[in-house]
């Protein structure tokens, strides 16, 4: 490949990337414009919270419990070296509320709910249901996409809070019931160290941002999928890859903004 060939290719790649980015931004604004209309038909949103939220509770709770167990064991191993095993409650609660709760929930959400959204909308497009709606003068963005976006945004912070709560319970089970840390120390260290707004509040803000990101990526990929079986399959894969990467990168940015300046 010579240089004359390389330059236009690079340009085409960059332009294509910019085009996709801009297209996504406009699509997002378009969806936001349709959100008020979906509030008027709130039962559509309720159905989506049911599909996205309720069915994710089991996997979120199971993962939260497992993560809490592991945090309890690993945290105890490290802390006991410094003779600070009583701080286990603080370690478990802070890591869950600030980082693991929002991030792991978002990753699970992308796999559990994001894929189903993409596949559903991709198949609706492949089956020309969306086109049929437009023929009946129903805007599919208003009827199909906006309620799903809203449902995802509502469900994510609730799921993340459940994850953290179950995780703390898991840490309690391992730390206090199995290892035998003093329960009073476990809870009081946690309560002294966790701040309602700085830690819990920022964790909820994080999961809200992740909720917007994951749901939007899933909807965009589904809506833009090629109307073929392969197209839907590729779109579903892209949903998981893009939302996972976006969540991890956004998490770094949000953590830097929220927590980097200790007062």
């Amino acid at each position: 490949m010579n240089f004359a060939d390389f330059l236009p290719r690079l340009g085409r790649w960059a332009l294509g990337y910019l085009y996709r980015l801009g297209h996504g931004a406009f699509f997002f604004l378009d969806l936001l414009k349709n959100v008020p209309a979906s509030l008027r038909r709130f039962y559509l949103v309720v159905a989506q919270i049911h599909a996205i939220g309720n069915y994710s509770v089991v996997i979120i709770a199971a993962s939260g419990l497992a993560v809490g167990f592991v945090l309890g064991l690993q945290g105890y191993y490290t802390l006991s070296r410094y003779g600070a095993a009583e701080s286990l409650g603080l370690l478990v609660a802070l890591s869950l509320v600030r980082e693991l709760g929002p991030v792991v929930t978002a990753l699970l959400f992308a796999g559990r709910a994001g894929t189903s959204l993409t596949a559903e909308i991709g198949l609706m497009k492949a089956g020309e249901q969306l086109a049929a709606m437009e023929m009946m003068a129903i805007d599919p963005r208003q009827r199909v996409l906006a309620p799903r976006l809203l449902g995802g945004i509502i469900a994510m912070p609730l799921l993340a809070a459940m994850f953290s709560a179950v995780g703390i319970f898991g840490g309690y089970v391992v730390g206090v019931l199995m290892i035998g840390i003093d329960p009073g120390q476990f809870w009081s260290q946690m309560q002294a160290g966790v701040d309602v707004w700085d830690d819990v509040g920022n964790g909820i803000i994080k999961s809200f941002v992740f909720g917007v990101t994951c749901t939007f990526v899933a909807l965009l990929e589904g809506f833009e999928a090629d109307a073929t079986p392969e197209g839907v399959a590729q779109a579903t894969t892209r949903t998981v890859v893009i939302s996972s990467l976006a969540v991890l990168l956004l998490d770094f940015v949000l953590t830097a903004v929220m927590f980097s300046t200790p007062r």
Partner: protein
């Protein structure tokens, strides 16, 4: 499933989410034990506040009676002005002294109040006059070394 069935399941989901948030706020972060009841504000000036942070506890006899509301620097005297919110049910004499103490050897710093003997009590907006600054470990060690060196020097002269 009927719409009513779905709605009640979603209601259950949302309720579980809010219970989880409430659990995190109350059980993990202890929102309830923040400041209970009404408070009044007093301030104190310290030459050095050390590592005191806003929302650090204010304790008297080891019992938390309030929180540090704000920390500022007086531009004229270059002293740190610590504003504290004390619970209304605790009244302290006017000649109460405030000192910045450390929980444990390297723990967090808090304000300790030592009640005096006057009959009048501190009112809202009052300033505590007698204060004792935070012990800065570096200064302390520096002083120790300096004293040691001074002793060594005088012994050598003999």
């Amino acid at each position: 499933m009927t719409r009513r069935g779905i709605e009640s399941l979603v209601g259950l989901f949302v309720l579980a989410g809010f219970v989880a948030i409430g659990y995190l706020a109350l059980k993990a972060a202890n929102l309830a034990a923040m400041t209970v009841g009404e408070t009044y504000v007093v301030s104190a000036r310290f030459d050095n506040i050390g590592g005191l942070k806003p929302r650090a506890p204010v304790k008297s006899a080891g019992v938390t009676v309030g929180r540090v509301a704000a920390i500022a620097l007086d531009g004229k005297t270059f002293q740190g002005v610590v504003t504290m919110e004390l619970e209304k049910r605790f009244a302290f004499p006017r000649d109460t002294s405030a000192s910045i103490l450390t929980a444990g050897l390297l723990g967090d710093q808090y304000v300790g109040l030592n009640p005096g003997g006057e009959d009048d009590n501190l009112a809202a907006g009052d300033t505590i006059r007698m204060t004792q600054s935070a012990v800065v470990l570096e200064n302390f060690i520096g002083q120790l070394l300096y004293n040691r060196a001074a002793e060594g020097g005088s012994e050598a002269k003999k």
